[in-house]
Structure formats: structure tokens, C-alpha cells
Symmetry: C2
Subunit: 400 residues, 2 copies
């Protein structure tokens, strides 16, 4: 899961350039990324600082180009024990973040048309947890800031349960469901990571300062905004994209009809990651949003820890054999293997049939099928989905 | 929705023959139906009575062939104001019951291989409600005999709500959810029908006798078992097939992991009817079965009356224009029209995309697509589902 750059340590100059790029832009824009891709981060930072850029980039960076000092940012970070993780670093989640670059690649012309924040230029990382270790086996647990007693209780049960199974629980550090998730994982001796909308030196909200301090001491507090940054409404929304992108699956425990947690779920869906929801009483306003996700957006019901493990595990990195590599089923997780086993090799089957045959939730089955399609292991035809074995022997099941 | 036989009134002899056939067999078997189809109900009844039948039919009818007296059954029925509805009668739900004949038609050879009860030979009908009126716009509401207070409350709300919308609520007359559904509809002045596992002269369970009496006075109490029949475990299971078959959709409000309501839901699924479930707390054992249906069998979450109307309405008889008939969209219900509008006319779309675009739950969208496919209005190709307009003008939307 490392990139080729990982063999060469990132130089202090490049790291400072990424720090500059992340801080000089309010959002990671398509235009600045185009510039970075064209001339590299060092030269891109230098041109922005000196104003030798086109009008669009100039417009996006003029307000701060003279004011951002990477050294000062690094010092502020060091004061709270944080560092900046950048592309090329070991543990940089390049694969996880890649879909955030899609809107840029899909642009028709060379300019405009991207309204959302893209891949971050870096992640400020405060805490002992190693990025690669925690992000590859993790799940996001999010929800309303005003949960019911039921919502708090099931958040605690599911978060502690999945932490004991070795998953990092990622959330947003907010009151309510987020805090219940972080707290339960800490209590269970697991690893939890809070992704903040502001700087990692400003533990927000204040009421959770002690909790987030404990998260930073054992797991990590993370942000793509530089130290010293306060929170705004759109920074919360941009932050939600990172929660969705950095985890293989997102669970929404409770959410009202309009809730930030729904924005995280929308991001997860856009990024092709499965979304789980905890059902609740239909008489509870705190479950209106989760039921909406299940009804209208095919989110999968999560009713116990095993469901959550399945949700997150189904998108795990070992789920699909690398294309061109070994096609033995040995390395596959249980969910993927069951979906593959349920597929016919001739004709085809509808996802619902495959789901029923495999005993895997339909939403997860479709997600797995999508990934298997990308890996070239299955195909979709007029009759439905089927397995496209590259030779029977290679697809022989290992004895269980 | 009437058959051609409806023009000719069913003779008393034919009605008596069906009464005999229904009572002489414990279950409506493939072999007896084959005989009826071959020689007609009168001759089939005569042959069975005299023993001039093959070994299989003989085995299925020997125990009762001399003991069943249709006249006596009719008298017993008349005592409680009931009558026998048979194939050919106005209001006989031929279309609704047709899928119950599928297992027989799918038999490889001519004998054996059908383990489930098939189409009934008749329906004993006790109550003023007219069969055609109530069955064509109805929904089944079923669930555990041991519900929570939450389950009872939402059953009452949803049942009364859908009754006010003009739907007949059909259930099984049992304690718990069934009783709550019947009671709420009676209270709302709506029409409710109880389908029993035993005879309509034996209102079972005894504790619900007064309630079922009220149902019989305003709606109907119905059974395919003749008057005088007591209940057995497998009669409950056979009865569940009728609840599922006689309604366009089935709602399960609360159900434990093993619950009779799950068997009704399984029948509904087998018959191609949408299944809805009410979500509840994951901490409640009474919601384990409903969550299972949603997770593993694509049941649709129902959280309010409008969801239930959509579930039942999506399979309404006006949903698809008759093949070869008019293709104007005027006669379509709202759900079907929205699904059609969401379909591309070139390329194709996945059901999930169609569902999202139409704002209709994925489970319902798939059910509608299946029916539209059967009607030849849509097609499914390698790129997904699309509309197959028979000329643009005919598919022009009416102004709304």
C-alpha cells in the first residue's frame, strides 16, 4: 500500500512546500493540484509565493501567499507533538485518497467546474498511531451531536466491539455520537482517531478537550488544515470528505433528517465506500436520517459488531487479488470469497440473488461486485453478474 | 380483473365440487389440480369420491373421500353467515393466486416434487366485504405474537394510517401485531380482513374471538380450510401463503429471529411481492427478524404511512399498462411513473441509480422494474436498465 516515492525519504524542503500549499489554499483546488502535477510541489510553492501563476491560482492564493510560513506551522505543530504527513511519506494513504482526485480528472476543459475540496496536500498528524496501521483496518463511526440514550449505548457497544476486533474507529471528535465512539474505544483499550475541521493544536469543541487529548495520546488527532486554524461550517463539510475517504466504510448510528453525518455518508457513497446505518425506532427523530439512508440510498443495516466488521472488511485491501497477480482465493477475505462462490460461471445472476446465495447484505454484495468488476474477476452481462475465471485451477477454492 | 368464467354464474354443483375438493385434501396438491384441469371439478370430485384415481391422488384423498359432505359444510358456513368463493366467481382473486400454481407448472415430470400447498380450491368467506374490492387495494400487516409496546404502537399508527388511505389491512388474527393491526383499522372505520389457519366458524385464538367477530361483521374472516377445521402448525404455515398471495405487499412490523411472520415474508418474496419492514432498536429481540429481512433479503424500510402506501401501490394493478393496450402514462400510479421517468432511453442505468434518481426505495424500484420488464416497457442490457418506448409520442408524459 506504499507508493514508489516511499523508498526515497521526503526532503524537508518538499515537506515545507506541501505545508505551504495546504495552508495557502483554503481548499485543495484542481488548479493548484494541476500546477503541482506540472512542476512539482517545490516549484509550485515558489511560483505561488512570488505570484508567477495564472489568474485562477492567483485568486485562490493571493490572500495568504505572503502570510504562510511553513517553519512557523511546523513549530506550532511540534509544540503539541504533531507532524505533517505528505505524499511520498511511508503511510501516506495514497490509494484511499485517490478517489478525491476524480472530480479534477473528470473536468471537461482545463479550468473551473470543481466545487469540492480535493485530495489534501498533507495531513497534520498528532499522536503515536502509525497512519498505515490505523487507516488500513478502520471504520468511521459518526452521527448526530444530539443522540438519544439508545444512540449513545449502541455507539459504545459497536465501537468497542469493532475496536476489540482490531479496527481503528475514526470519527470527528464532536459531541454526541462521535464522542461516544471515541470514548468507548479508549475504554476498550483500542485505537481511535479524530479528524478535525480545524488545526490539531486546537482541540474542538472545547467540551471535548480532555477526550480529544486522550485520543491524541493513544491514537491520533488529524486535520488537513494547518495548526492554528479555527472551525467554520464549510470546514466541517470538507472534513467529512476525509472521514469518508480515509476509511473503508462509514457507519452512521443516529442522524436527524438534516445532519452533518449525512454529508459524510454522501461522501462515502460518492467515493464508492459502503455505508452502514443503525436502525432505530421510527418514532425517533434521531433515526430519520439513518432510515432515509437505508431506504433511498441502499445503506446496509448494522445490528451487531459482526455486521460492522463485514461492512469494513468487505472493502479491505486484501479483498481483491491484484490484477495480473495471483488469482488464488487464498488471500481473500471471507466476504469476498462468499460473493465469488455465489456467482455462476455461465449465464448470470442479479445482485439480489448473489446476496441471498452468499448470505451477505445486498448493499455489501453490490460494493464487492463493483470492486471485483474493477479487478476484472467478474463481468456484468445481459443475464446478470458472473465469474470470469482465468482458468479453473487458479480459481480453485482452498480447503477450509 | 375478472376471468371469462365470471360471465357464467358458477353452478351449485360446481361449487359443491370445489368444496369437496378443498375439504378432501389436507393441502391443495399438484396431482389433484392436474386432475381438475384434465376433467373439470365435477368429474374430479366424482372420481375421487368413487376411488377411480391414480395411486398418488388416492393416497392424498383416501382418508376423507367418504367423509366429506359439501352440503354439511355449506350449512355450517351458513350458520355463521359464510359462503364459499370458488374459481369462476366474480371477485375470485385469480391473478393474485396464480403464482401459487407455479411450482406445479415447473415440475419436471408429471408427478411428485411439490411440497407446498398450491392454489386453494376455494375461499370460505365470512363477512360483508366484497373480495374484489378489498383484495385489489390492500396490504398485509403481520408480526410477532409477543410485540413490544413500540411494536403495538407503530402497528396501530401504520395500519390506521393506510386504512384511512383506502387500503384494506389483511392479517392473520393472531395475538400481538396481528390483533393490533385489526383493532386499529376497526377503530379507524376502515376495512380489515383476517385470514385464518382453521375454519371461519372457529374464531381462533379464543382470546381474539370478540375482535375477530367484529372483523367478520365489517370486513371478512377468510380461510381455505373448510368450516369445522381446527388449527395445526402446518396449517398456519399454509395460511401464510394466502396472506402473502392475496395482497400486493406485506409489512412485517416486529418479528424475532424465528417467527411465523418471516414465513409470510418468505412467501411474499417467492411470489414476487414487495416486503416492507419496520425498523426498531437493535437492542430489541422483536426487531431481529425485521432487520434480518432488510439486511439479507432486500426488504424495504417502512417508517411512515406514505412508505406503506408506496410499497403496496407499487404493485397495484394499474401499475403497468396492459401489453398491447394503450401506452399512455395516464393510468400509471405515481411510483411507476417516477421509475419510468428515471430510466434512460439509451444506454442503461443500474437499479440503484434509478432508485436514487426516482427517489423511490431500491427494493420497490427493483420490484417495479421487474413488472415493467414483464410488460415489455423496459429492457435490461449490459449497460443496465432502459426504457423501450414504442414510439416517442405514446410515452409522452401527461401534464401534471
Amino acid at each position: 500500500m506504499t507508493t514508489h516515492e516511499a523508498d526515497t525519504p521526503v526532503s524537508p524542503e518538499v515537506r515545507a512546500a506541501y505545508a505551504y500549499l495546504g495552508a495557502v489554499t483554503e481548499r485543495s483546488t484542481a488548479q493548484v493540484w494541476d500546477l503541482v502535477d506540472a512542476v512539482g510541489p517545490l516549484e509550485a510553492a515558489a511560483r505561488i509565493r512570488s505570484g508567477r501563476v495564472d489568474d485562477e491560482v492567483a485568486g485562490q492564493t493571493a490572500a495568504r501567499r505572503h502570510r504562510v510560513d511553513p517553519r512557523e506551522l511546523a513549530e506550532r505543530a511540534a509544540e503539541v507533538g504533531a507532524r505533517l504527513l505528505v505524499p511520498g511519506d511511508p503511510g501516506w494513504p495514497a490509494v484511499a485518497l485517490e478517489p478525491l482526485d476524480r472530480p479534477r480528472r473528470l473536468r471537461r476543459g482545463g479550468t473551473g467546474g470543481v466545487e469540492t475540496a480535493l485530495r489534501p496536500f498533507g495531513l497534520w498528524w498528532r499522536g503515536p498511531a502509525h497512519p498505515a496501521d490505523v487507516l488500513e483496518r478502520s471504520v468511521a463511526v459518526v452521527g448526530t451531536r444530539a443522540p438519544t440514550a439508545y444512540g449513545r449505548a449502541v455507539t459504545a457497544d459497536l465501537s468497542a466491539g469493532v475496536a476489540v476486533e482490531g479496527f481503528t474507529v475514526i470519527s470527528g471528535g464532536a459531541f454526541g455520537i462521535d464522542a461516544a465512539a471515541h470514548r468507548a474505544v479508549l475504554g476498550a483499550g483500542g485505537t481511535t482517531v479524530a479528524i478535525l475541521a480545524g488545526g490539531v493544536d486546537r482541540l474542538y469543541p472545547r467540551g471535548n478537550e480532555a477526550l480529544l487529548g486522550a485520543v491524541a495520546e493513544t491514537g491520533a488527532v488529524v486535520s488537513d488544515q494547518p495548526p492554528g486554524t479555527g472551525v467554520t461550517r464549510y470546514r466541517f463539510l470538507d472534513r467529512n470528505r476525509l472521514i469518508a475517504a480515509l476509511t473503508p466504510a462509514t457507519l452512521v448510528v443516529e442522524a436527524a433528517a438534516r445532519s452533518g453525518a449525512l454529508s459524510t455518508a454522501t461522501w462515502a457513497r460518492v467515493l464508492g465506500r459502503p455505508v452502514g446505518v443503525v436502525p432505530g425506532p421510527i418514532t425517533s427523530v434521531s433515526s430519520v436520517g439513518t432510515h432515509l439512508l437505508a431506504r433511498e440510498r441502499d445503506a446496509t443495516l448494522v445490528t451487531r459488531t459482526a455486521d460492522l466488521v463485514e461492512l469494513a472488511g468487505s472493502m479491505g485491501e486484501t479483498a481483491v487479488p491484484p490484477s495480473g497477480g495471483a488469482t488464488s482465493w487464498d488471500g481473500l477475505d471471507d466476504t469476498t470469497r462468499r460473493v465469488l462462490e455465489a456467482l455462476p460461471t455461465t449465464g448470470g445472476a442479479a445482485p439480489a440473488e448473489v446476496a441471498a446465495s452468499a448470505g451477505i447484505a445486498p448493499g455489501i454484495t453490490r460494493a464487492v461486485l463493483g470492486r471485483l468488476l474493477g479487478a476484472g474477476v467478474v463481468s456484468r452481462g445481459p443475464q446478470g453478474w458472473r465469474r470470469t475465471g482465468d482458468g479453473g485451477q487458479q480459481l480453485t477454492l482452498p480447503a477450509t
